[in-house]
């Protein structure tokens, strides 16, 4: 793949004045042109629609969970239904929204644009990944329609293999299949980032969004096969009665937990790293200066990806793990917090001497920093052995991982969508409503999940359908917060759809941002760039005198 000799195909701008210039959206019409597309931007839109559908489904389950927990007695649904609700909430949100969310939507759209490429390295594999995702989703939906799964999204054995009578196999197969779509996407990103950068786009001129997607892709490619194997082992035990995890058959139930978390802990970094990449872009764009300590932030992503593979054992501190093993996992889990902390400080200091504009994407980014800080700090608390024993499997954990996965990942996802929406659609959305949504999400989120930290320390275990009455007030607060959060999520859905038809044209670069993706038109043409860009400076050079200083000695690179 030689990017230097590729100049774009000759482009014939529309002769009629007033008609839209050619872009990827109006290049072809009809369902066929979407379902058979190989354009990474259109595939990103397909993913956007499907992950939004799964997010809505997962949120619906969450709504029912919060309603059930309004009262101490289980009175809205039966315990069996409740167990299915939290299980399906977890499965849908984790495997069908959080993991694919940012990489498959924003990553797909932006990775080629940001490095100056025409598409991903393997456009057909990219389209295949979406179909595989949908196939996996169908398996899971099939299990939901037929009554759901009640094992928890963690599928702990021997409950899942021997005691649950629900649709464990079909739901797990859905996850197995969807894993391949992740692997395809990850592989595509790695090859694309290595081979298809525009001339002059050296590694240290890559936007941090690209660095974090590169780190994420490494985790996806190395980690996902492990969950695939684990699911096959569960299926083998359930269908063929091989004794792997069930002690009655001579297996070891804790072995499952090791295999499961060997993937599923790094999976948390699959969810959060791309979001961190988004935040780096937003902070730089709305402070109009380079991210403080660019290289440190870039390497912190890689550091998190590597260390993230070495901490899975902190999920088993009270599962009969040896105290010495627990000690090792504790110290490693604390170390992984350091690169995360460094990133938070770097983002904060990027604001120093910036030119800060509080437009909607920036509000989401600042909200992310706040929520991620608290989520990260409570994560280190949980890595502290003597403390984890008490709060393990309580609402403290529930609050912690929602601060990371909702406060972190969804804030980044929504912030990114708001930032690149003009790039994706060429349209503007209402400024006031979108700022209001950022505020509602932030306030609603804290009201939902902060009380759960207190509930957890009081000792309320997770996955409880009914609970002692003294926990009610905090649960009511949490449900009240969830309803605010729900409004905060519905608003963007409405005004994004509205803007596609009625929104004002955004122009090519409404934020005055730098970055290759803003050097082309909005929405971009199918081939992204009319002429192959040549990169002569770093990713966030807003200050003209600085750009001048650095371009005096251009770094040439032949891809």
């Amino acid at each position: 793949m030689n990017t230097t000799v590729d100049t774009a195909e000759p482009v014939v701008p529309s002769p009629e004045t007033g008609s839209e210039p050619r872009n990827y959206l109006n290049a072809a019409y009809g369902l066929r042109s979407w379902l058979l597309t190989r354009d990474h931007k259109r595939i990103a839109i397909l993913y956007l629609i499907s992950v939004t559908a799964f997010f809505a489904l997962g949120s619906f389950f969450a709504l029912l969970i919060r309603l059930e927990l309004l009262t101490p007695e289980g009175d809205l649904v039966s315990p069996d239904t409740y167990n299915r609700l939290f299980t399906m909430h977890g499965i849908v949100m984790v495997f069908f929204f959080l993991i694919p969310g940012i990489p498959a939507v924003l990553g797909n759209f932006l990775v080629p644009l940001m490095i100056g490429a025409k598409d991903l390295a393997f456009p057909r594999i990219n389209l295949a990944s979406w179909y595989i995702y949908c196939l996996g989703g169908l398996f899971t939906l099939w299990s939901i329609v037929h009554g759901g799964v009640d094992t928890g999204w963690t599928f702990y054995t021997p409950f899942s293999t021997h005691y649950s009578n629900t649709y464990v196999i079909s739901a797990a197969l859905g996850i197995f299949i969807t894993g391949f779509s992740s692997i395809f996407t990850g592989l595509n990103f790695i090859v694309t980032i290595h081979r298809m950068r525009a001339p002059g786009m050296t590694w240290f001129r890559l936007p941090l969004f690209i660095w974090s997607h590169y780190a994420t892709s490494l985790i996806i490619v190395l980690g996902t096969p492990v969950i695939a194997i684990t699911i096959l082992l569960v299926a083998a035990e359930k269908l063929l009665h091989l004794g792997i995890f069930d002690p009655a058959l001579g297996g070891d139930p804790v072995l499952f937990q090791h295999l499961f978390w060997f993937y599923s802990h790094p999976a948390v970094y699959i969810m959060i790293l791309p979001s961190m990449g988004v935040i780096s872009e937003l902070v730089a764009a709305f402070a109009r200066k380079p991210v403080f300590g660019y290289k440190v932030v870039a390497f912190a992503s890689i550091g998190i990806a590597v260390l993230g593979f070495l901490v899975w054992g902190h999920h088993m501190f009270v599962a009969g793990e040896s105290v010495y093993v627990a000690t090792v996992f504790s110290v490693l889990s604390m170390l992984v917090a350091i690169p995360s902390a460094v990133k938070v400080f770097n983002w904060t200091f990027t604001l120093y001497q910036g030119s800060i504009s509080l437009q909607t994407p920036m509000l989401y980014a600042l909200g992310f920093i706040g929520l991620f800080t608290l989520g990260g700090l409570t994560g280190v608390m949980l890595a502290t052995l003597g403390l984890d024993v008490h709060v393990h499997d309580t609402y403290f954990i529930v609050a912690h991982f929602h601060y990371i996965m909702v406060g972190g990942t969804i804030m980044g996802y929504l912030g990114g969508l708001h930032y690149w929406w003009p790039k994706i659609s060429g349209k503007l959305y209402p400024a006031f409503l979108s700022r209001l949504s950022a505020l509602l999400v932030f306030v609603g989120f804290n009201l939902t999940f902060f009380p759960q930290f207190i509930l957890g320390y009081l000792g309320m275990p997770r996955r409880y359908w009914s609970y002692p009455p003294e926990f009610q007030v905090l649960n009511v607060l949490s449900t009240a917060g969830a309803s605010i959060l729900g409004v905060g999520y519905l608003l963007p859905l409405c005004y994004f759809i509205w803007s596609m038809r009625y929104g004002k044209n955004s122009g090519d670069n409404p934020w005055g941002a730098v970055g290759l993706e803003w050097d082309t038109s909005s929405p971009p043409p199918t081939e992204n760039f009319l002429t192959t860009p040549v990169v002569t400076h770093g990713p966030y050079e807003y200050n003209p005198k600085e750009v001048h200083d650095r371009t005096s000695q251009p770094e040439a690179r032949v891809g």
């Binding site: 702990y156 001579g250 109009r288 110290v331 280190v380 403390l387 009081l458």
Partner: protein
Amino acid sequence: MRSQLPLFPDSASTLSPHVDALFLAWSVVSAFFTLLIAVLILYFMVRYRRRGADDVGEVERPMLWLEIAWTAIPLGIVMAMFVWGTLVFFQLYRPPADAVEYYSVGKQWMWKFQHPDGHREINALHIPAGRAIRLKLTAEDVIHSFYVPAFRLKQDALPGRYTQVWFKATKPGIYHLFCAEYCGAEHSRMIGWIVVMEPRDYEAWLAGGPAGKTMVASGAELFEQLACQTCHRAAPNRPARGPRLEGLYGTQVKLANGGTVTADDDYIRESILNPTAKITAGWDPIMPTFQGQVSEEQLLQLLSYIKSLHADNGGSEAAGGQTAKKTP
């Protein structure tokens, strides 16, 4: 007398204050850093707000000292907390030598308890304050988790294995017992109470219940019933056909495949349920399995009995000789 809006849990064990201290210290550290970041963001937000549409930020010189500081300081803090947390953890999982052994079996969806004197309870455990208690846990079906928030203590009960937890209650009262590991439909009803009593009230409570046999005595009875002695003890007219159990517990056993294994709870349990898994060197694999013939509680009784057998006498000791040389 429980408050409508409690903000901090009851504290009723010797180790609770240690966990709380750790938690409060962490809370202060977390609040400090969260506020620090929030204040900095708010300050920068106002101080460096964009004044003109074409304004751009200044580019600061790299501040290496700052980057080193914000790497090193958090690292120092987490390492200190790691050491502290690990010390507390070791206390939580290292029972003192004088701890009295109680037993618990979790099953869908109840907690079954046995006192050393044979008393049994379901979903409630009466214990004396001020005495160290070691609770041996196992599960009949799926994984459960023994959780007493007032003791800041939790331990999974695993099917097919023994785990243990210990505590010394400080304050008489009634405290929540929860199952903390999701275990199926009635998970949220697998709850009960830990009733902490003054020692003399506890003695009175024990005396009031139906007189049970001690764990060791029940084990001895079961040993006879299952005819274990026909192989594991020599009779005057024939040699033993299986390895001697007296003095076995805690020793290293040589296996037929050349390996060695410590004769602990899990090994003895496995040898009863799956005798051919680890054959003692020098013996034939003739023992039948007792899978399905003994319940988890009976296994605990057999285990207590076998532990009570000392090398120097052929029969059982009278009352629960706790000679555990090893804590699993």
